[in-house]
C-alpha cells in the first residue's frame, strides 16, 4: 500500500472515519450504561446534561435482580442456548461430514437444500409452527424453543462446517482407512478432533443466534417462569405506558454481557466464520 501520509492527512483518512464509526456503534451501549446508573431524579430531569451521571446508583440493578424474574430468564436463556447449540452442532456434523467427504448420488441436491433451508426466514414458518407446538402440547415449555431453534441452527452449522471441513487435508483419513478403520471410526477418531476451530466458530454463532432469538420465544413462551431474556425484558419490564428506563437499561446491558464475553474470547473465530461468507446479516 501507499504509505507516508502527513499526520493531518492520516487524521482525515483514518481517525476521522474510524472515530465516527466507533462513536455511532458504541453510543447506544454507553447510553445503556449511563442510564442504568442514574437515580430517577436525574433520569427524568430535562435540565441536566444527560451524558454524565452525577450520583451513580446500583438501585436499578438491585431492583431488576430482586423484583423481577431476570435471573430466571437468564438461566432459561443459557439452558436453551447451550442445548440448542449442542443439538445443532451434532446434527450439523452429521450433515456436513458426508457432504464434505463422500461421493454419492444426490449430494449436490442435499447441499443445495440445506443452503436453501438455512435462508428461509422465520416469518415464513412461525404461524404453522405455533400451531404444531400447540398440538404437541409444548407451549410454555423450554422444549418448544430448544426444538425449534435448531431448525435455523442445523442448516447454519452444517453450512459453516461444510466450508471448514473442505479445508482439512484428507491424508490422515486415507491413512486410517488403509489401516482398516471403518468410516465411522475414521470420522470420530481421526477427522473430528482436527476440526475444533470449526466447531468453535459454528458453536459461537449458534450460541449468539440462540441468545438473540425473539420471535419463537415470544410466541411459544408466554409464562414468566419459562421466558428468555429478550422476551422477558420486552414483555415484563415495559409495563403498559410506564417505562422503568433505569431497570430496562440495566436489563439490556446485563442481557448483552454473556454474549459479549463469549464473543470477546473467540473474536478471531467469530470473524473467521463471518468472513467465510456464510453468515446471515
Amino acid at each position: 500500500m501507499v504509505t507516508g501520509y502527513s499526520p493531518v492527512e492520516r487524521a482525515v483518512r483514518l481517525w476521522l472515519p474510524v472515530g465516527f464509526f466507533l462513536l455511532v456503534a458504541l453510543f447506544p451501549f454507553y447510553w445503556m450504561a449511563v442510564t442504568s446508573l442514574k437515580p430517577n431524579a436525574e433520569l427524568y430531569n430535562r435540565h441536566l446534561m444527560p451524558l454524565l451521571v452525577l450520583h451513580p446508583t446500583l438501585k436499578h440493578y438491585v431492583d431488576l435482580l430482586t423484583q423481577t424474574s431476570f435471573l430466571l430468564w437468564t438461566w432459561n436463556t443459557m439452558i436453551v442456548a447451550v442445548l440448542s447449540t449442542a443439538i445443532s452442532l451434532v446434527l450439523g456434523v452429521m450433515l456436513a461430514y458426508p457432504l464434505a467427504r463422500m461421493r454419492f448420488a444426490g449430494a449436490g441436491l442435499i447441499a443445495m437444500t440445506v443452503a436453501a433451508i438455512y435462508l428461509v426466514p422465520q416469518p415464513l414458518l412461525f404461524i404453522p409452527l405455533a400451531d404444531l407446538i400447540n398440538r404437541l402440547d409444548l407451549g410454555n415449555t423450554l422444549s418448544a424453543v430448544i426444538l425449534t431453534y435448531p431448525t435455523m441452527l442445523v442448516p447454519f452449522c452444517a453450512w459453516l462446517l461444510l466450508g471448514y471441513f473442505k479445508t482439512v487435508p484428507k491424508e490422515l483419513e486415507e491413512a486410517a482407512r488403509i489401516d482398516g478403520a471403518s468410516r465411522l471410526q475414521t470420522m470420530r477418531r481421526i477427522f473430528l478432533p482436527l476440526c475444533t476451530p470449526g466447531f468453535i466458530s459454528a458453536g459461537i454463532f449458534a450460541f449468539t443466534l440462540s441468545q438473540n432469538e425473539f420471535l419463537y420465544a415470544l410466541i411459544f413462551l408466554t409464562k414468566s417462569s419459562v421466558r428468555t431474556v429478550p422476551v422477558g425484558v420486552i414483555a415484563e419490564l415495559i409495563r403498559g405506558d410506564v417505562f422503568y428506563w433505569g431497570q430496562l437499561m440495566a436489563g439490556a446491558l446485563l442481557g448483552s454481557i454473556p454474549v459479549a464475553i463469549i464473543y470477546s474470547f473467540f473474536v478471531e473465530h467469530y470473524v473467521a466464520g463471518l468472513t467465510s461468507g456464510s453468515v446471515k446479516g
Binding site: I117, T151, V154, P230, G251, L274
Partner: protein, 310 residues
C-alpha cells in the same frame, strides 16, 4: 470330523456376514445416507412439514383453537383488497432497499477506513462488531430510549443546537418512524457488511495497486478499477444475505413501533404476526406470510446457486 467341522463353518459364515454388513455400512452412499438421516428427518419434520402445513393454513378460515374450514383462495383475495396489505408491501420494499443501500455504502466506507495499519486495530474491529452480536431486542430498547418522546438524548442535543422544543417526534411521525427503523437496522447490520468487505479487501494483492499507480491511476481510479471489481463477488453475496434478512425483519419493528404509527412501519412479518397472533386468524396470517414467498424464493434460489459448495 465332519460333525466337528460343522460349527466352524457356521462361525466362518457368521464372520463373513458380519464382514459383509460392516462392508455394506462402509459403502460411501450407505454410510452417507445413514449419517444424514437424523438431521434430514429433523428438518423435514420441523421445516418441511410446517412449510407445507402453512400453505394448507393459508387456504383455510382458521381461528385459533377452532377447526379450519377450506376457503380456497379467499384469504389471498382478502389480502389483495386490503389497503394495509399494499401499504405493508410498499413499506417492506422501501425498508429493504433503503437499509440495504445504506449498509452497502456505509459498510464499504467502514472497510476502506479499516483497511489501513493502525494501533489496536483488532480491538477496534471487535468493538465495531458489537451492534451485530448483541441481541437485537436489547439494543433496540436502548434506541427506543434514545428516541423517547419526552427524554430523547438526541433531541437534547438538537435543542442545544437550536432546534425548537420539544424536538422531532421520532417514533410518532410516520416518516420519521420509518427513517428511524431504517437507520437502526443499518446500525445493526453495517458491521457485518464492513468486516466481511474488509476481509475481501485484504485479499486484494498490493501489486495490483502498485501496477495501477505506475500506470498513473489516482486514488479514485484505483478504487473504481481495481478494488471494486475484485470485491464484486463478496458484495453480491453479502447483499443477497442482507436483503433476505432485512426483508423478513421482525424484532426491531415489533419492539420499537409495533408497526405504528398508523401502520407506517408495518412490515410483512409484523403484519402477519398481528393478524395471526394478536387477532387469532391463523389462515389469513399464513396467507400474508406466504405472500412474501415468491420474492423470497427468487432471492434464496439466486443465493443458493451462488453459494453452491460443490
Amino acid at each position: 470330523m465332519t460333525s466337528r467341522s460343522e460349527p466352524v463353518v457356521g462361525v466362518v459364515r457368521l464372520a463373513r456376514r458380519a464382514v459383509s454388513i460392516s462392508g455394506w455400512l462402509d459403502r460411501e452412499s450407505v454410510f452417507s445416507w445413514l449419517m444424514m438421516a437424523p438431521p434430514l428427518l429433523f428438518l423435514a419434520a420441523l421445516v418441511g412439514y410446517p412449510f407445507l402445513y402453512g400453505i394448507l393454513l393459508s387456504l383455510q378460515n382458521r381461528p385459533v383453537a377452532h377447526a379450519g374450514t377450506f376457503v380456497g383462495l379467499k384469504n389471498f383475495a382478502n389480502d389483495i383488497n386490503d389497503l394495509i396489505f399494499w401499504k405493508v408491501t410498499f413499506n417492506t420494499f422501501l425498508h429493504t432497499a433503503a437499509a440495504t443501500l445504506l449498509k452497502m455504502v456505509g459498510g464499504l466506507a467502514l472497510a476502506l477506513a479499516m483497511n489501513q495499519q493502525f494501533p489496536l486495530k483488532n480491538l477496534v474491529r471487535a468493538l465495531l462488531l458489537l451492534p451485530f452480536i448483541v441481541p437485537t431486542v436489547l439494543s433496540t430498547v436502548a434506541w427506543m430510549w434514545i428516541l423517547d418522546p419526552a427524554f430523547s438524548v438526541l433531541n437534547w442535543f438538537l435543542i442545544a443546537l437550536g432546534v425548537p422544543k420539544p424536538g422531532p417526534s421520532w417514533l410518532g411521525n410516520p416518516i420519521l418512524a420509518m427513517a428511524s427503523i431504517i437507520v437502526i437496522n443499518t446500525w445493526r447490520g453495517l458491521p457485518f457488511y464492513g468486516i466481511t468487505l474488509l476481509a475481501g479487501l485484504q485479499t486484494v494483492p498490493p501489486e495490483l495497486y502498485e501496477a495501477a499507480t505506475i500506470d498513473g491511476a489516482g486514488g479514485w481510479q484505483r478504487f473504481r478499477y481495481v478494488t471494486l471489481p475484485l470485491l464484486q463477488p463478496i458484495i453480491l453475496i453479502v447483499t443477497l444475505f442482507s436483503v433476505i434478512f432485512t426483508f423478513a425483519d421482525f424484532q426491531l419493528v415489533y419492539v420499537l413501533t409495533h408497526g405504528g404509527p398508523q401502520n407506517a412501519t408495518q412490515l410483512f412479518a409484523t403484519y402477519a404476526f398481528d393478524i395471526a397472533m394478536a387477532s387469532g386468524q391463523l389462515g389469513l396470517g399464513a396467507s400474508v406470510a406466504l405472500a412474501t414467498f415468491p420474492a423470497l424464493a427468487l432471492l434464496i434460489l439466486a443465493l443458493t446457486i451462488y453459494l453452491r459448495r460443490g
